[in-house]
Symmetry: C2
Subunit: 317 residues, 2 copies
Amino acid sequence: MKFKDEIKLYKSMIDENLKKVYESGPINIKEPIYHILKGGKRIRPILSLITADACGLNPEEAVDASISIELLHNFTLIHDDIMDNDDLRHGNETIHKKWNDSIAILSGDAMLAIALLKLNEIPKYSSSIIKKFNEGLIEVCEGQALDLYFQDKEIITENDYLKMIHKKTGFMIGLSAEIGAILANADKNTQNEMKKYGFLIGRAFQIQDDLLEIISNKSKMGKTLESDFLLNKKTYLSIKSRLIDNEIINTFIDIAKNDFEKGFMHYKEFLQRNNIIEETEETISEILNKADKILIDLEINRKNLFDYTKFILNRKH
Amino acid sequence: MKFKDEIKLYKSMIDENLKKVYESGPINIKEPIYHILKGGKRIRPILSLITADACGLNPEEAVDASISIELLHNFTLIHDDIMDNDDLRHGNETIHKKWNDSIAILSGDAMLAIALLKLNEIPKYSSSIIKKFNEGLIEVCEGQALDLYFQDKEIITENDYLKMIHKKTGFMIGLSAEIGAILANADKNTQNEMKKYGFLIGRAFQIQDDLLEIISNKSKMGKTLESDFLLNKKTYLSIKSRLIDNEIINTFIDIAKNDFEKGFMHYKEFLQRNNIIEETEETISEILNKADKILIDLEINRKNLFDYTKFILNRKH
């Protein structure tokens, strides 16, 4: 099967299962949960299934675990959207916008509860997976805490930024790959290397997200771009920019507060002028090359994983 | 040892352990977590320790599990306080008030993550306890969802109310007792009966909370009473009142919106006049009698549990 078709198949397996995650329960959490689950690229659970397959397991046997990861991811989206006051997610209204903050807080909590219950249904290896999942949960919370903390600072180092995105994004993408390998009963070294592959994918994915916010547009990204810029959220491009001229970035944000398009346009031009966009593209490629190098040394069926790396590299939203 | 001293000892064991739950991590979640953990009666973890002891286990061996329950409880308090817009908790400012909503959402999430990590540290029986804990988490979320849902309704039945408080409060108090019995390796019947004992304690505890909001005062309760009344939150007393005269309760709330003391005073007088306070006190006693009856049939060292029932009955805040 072609990689594109394989991805489609995996996505539909995941989506089918997500449709059944919460069939009973109060309507004021059930509706928001299904509302947000309608959208999303499913890059985390797809990685679990591809890894499971590469390590010799029928991907169907990894679906439950992969769904827990997708649910945990959606839990963080719901809560992050409240914190960032974002209006759009996956091209739809965010939960706190369509309902209210209380419903959003609560459906996020319930989403996490459902993720944990799903994990309990996995017969094999569940206790080690549950432990890793819980470790991932605290990493994600700490990543978001750093993200908020850094918003109050003008300049942070690249290392601070990389630590923050590792916690916020990288760790769970690493876990997505690792869980596929664990479920497939791969040896410890393979489990570990697949985790590292996922960490790198996560890093590239986040930096690319930062880049797409600049070169893509609102409707393609399916989320609002204003808030990140106005909130002074740290991105790979913003920390590079501030190293070059901190004052001018503050000026652009000030302009954007009154006229978003204008301030944001100045910022984009600055990024172009200083080669930050090219530099970021190169960084992403380098990280993904590193990720692929990990695969070469493993005794697994790595073809789809190479394709997955390319799929991440080439995404446009 | 006298029961009072035993409780003190347990509380200090719990408090000592809570001081160590989150020693590293970003300051903007660490500080709020320790802020809310300063207060609280610890009735849930104390029940776990008393049950463990009654079933023949050294209570020290149940501390980790009991702490997870206390952390989960505090996670719900942090998020509920945002939803109810409460200013006070355990006599201190609530997290969303002292910091902001984002920090409160996030430290609640992190508190839950820490609770789950603590559970993973329990060597014995951890997978069954983790499963029960996760089931408790979704019950609590659903209970809170019903609580919000019922705020938009004028009249709900006593059964609706009992279902809501079972999910929101009873289930986790039941689990507190059950976990003590599980860790002590008690037989299945004892585990189950202790759970039922806890369910009843939880029911009595919540109805008593509703009552104390009327007959206690703000400083004793350590939380604000205004919000529950103005938000039309369903309490045991409010559903009884509305069955007698729905219109007048709406009038009292309308008055309270302009002059809280006045509207609330009218409501209190109404409760007195219609014997609802006495009726509620009787209900609490009946439930606790039922709870004690469960203990009689069990082959455990039940003395402290009887005292615990009395301790719940006689609490003033």
